[in-house]
Symmetry: C2
Subunit: 230 residues, 2 copies
DNA sequence: TTCGGCATAATTGTTGACAATCCTGTTGCC
DNA sequence: GGCAACAGGATTGTCAACAATTATGCCGAA
């Protein structure tokens, strides 16, 4: 318990910067098409340009930003077609995981989920979008980690990250947040009751709303853009 | 069609170096636990250290290499438990993809698959492990790309990469290579016949042998290592 | 006005030198 | 002989200057 966690090395700082930028994208602070200038970010986040550079590369791999050589990085605007494809895969992966969550000895899991959900509910009640986002991530990570296959969990997180750019629409919406809260409680109940079908069904339904909200918000623009020809 | 493809930028060179190292690992040139020294690789591959550095970071993300801060990178020795978990996920993903491959208008696909498989068969016949490996990758990429969901394809490739370190055992084995060749032809036939169940079954079976070979080869060592306590 | 070319500024890409860290073999002390 | 402290070398991590590229604004000519 020493307080000497100082001197983080580059790799960790890169993750930190990437996470920070990711949050700002999810919360709508950084909008699609917005330019991300290395030096500017470096100064704002109090790190060297080198670190920002790697963080941007990471976000590019994940699919949250786009980078063109010698021209820099932008927040990526997700194509609804892509979003649909990603959600299809997410559904398959999360269903697979939900089917493998052990329902026999879930005491520790339940405790942890309820604790996280407490934080989530509080964040929703107080309208703290950032805290809600973090608690939401933690909830899903804890839930799916219970499937026992870390590689599957990793894939689930990767795919979730990919559509984070599509979540600024729902991330601050009171309606969506409270719906998510209710569904989380439903999942906890399903685990308590040992009702696997219910759990799987809830996980699947849980994905729909934010996907649909994004597509409804963005599809018209895309159709227009394509018919306009640019 | 200008021949001016020169001046690749860092990002591409990184991919190149990573691919090179990956091949050397798969083919058993680089063995597990072997140290990967940045400067040494930089000289051998005629790139700057910086490029090697990023390539190693990438291979670490993928799971082929392990890196500890200030100590460098090693070829990762895969734990059989992990290998089993990864193959479980691979089975799910590849089944999912195989179920979505369109069997209605497969002419172009069949042509491409047969062309690639020609190369694969030739490589197997001549015992060229590297060419066989490349053709094998190309075959699976072309096959699964036909599922129409690029994000699913990406995931499949990611998971395949993860166990590349476990393939040095089968990558040069004539027995395994010819078995793979026969199974590839089987898949082509299944697509021709429009027999989806057969195609899915073949994809699933196709995964087993190399997994089992690795586990059989390595598990004893791991059991011993663990019971020995180190 | 509008267009093409040119100078300038803004930004990214690359490099090599330097600093920090860790392993190894050795010395000196108990 | 065994062990701790200590140099020396090998390797990785950090940085800031420099080079290369692209965008922008300006000017003059048709």
């Amino acid at each position: 318990m020493t307080v000497v966690a100082l001197k983080a090395q580059t790799a960790e700082r890169v993750r930190g910067v990437a996470a920070m930028l990711e949050e700002e994208i999810v919360l709508g602070w950084l909008m699609p098409r917005e330019r991300l200038i290395e030096e500017e970010l470096a100064e704002r986040l109090a790190v060297k340009r080198h670190v920002v550079r790697e963080a941007l590369a990471e976000l590019e791999r994940v699919g949250l930003v786009e980078r063109v050589p010698n021209r820099g990085a932008f927040v990526k605007l997700l194509d609804p077609v892509e979003v649909r494809q990603i959600y299809l895969v997410r559904e398959a992966l999360e269903t697979l995981a939900a089917e493998q969550i052990s329902l026999s000895a879930p005491d520790e899991l339940l405790l942890r989920l309820e604790e996280i959900q407490g934080a989530h509910s509080a964040a929703v009640a107080s309208g703290d979008a950032r805290a809600a986002f973090r608690a939401n991530m933690a909830f899903h990570e804890a839930l799916f980690a219970a499937c026992g296959n870390p590689h599957l969990v990793e894939l689930i997180q990767t795919m979730a990250q990919k559509v984070h750019g599509a979540r600024s629409i729902t991330a601050a919406s009171a309606e969506h947040l409270s719906r998510a809260r209710d569904e989380h409680f439903g999942m906890i109940e399903a685990i308590k009751a040992g009702d696997r079908d219910q759990l799987v069904a809830l996980c699947r339904q849980h994905l729909g709303p934010s996907r649909d909200a994004y597509i409804a918000a963005v599809e018209p623009r895309f159709v227009r853009a394509k018919s306009t020809g640019a």
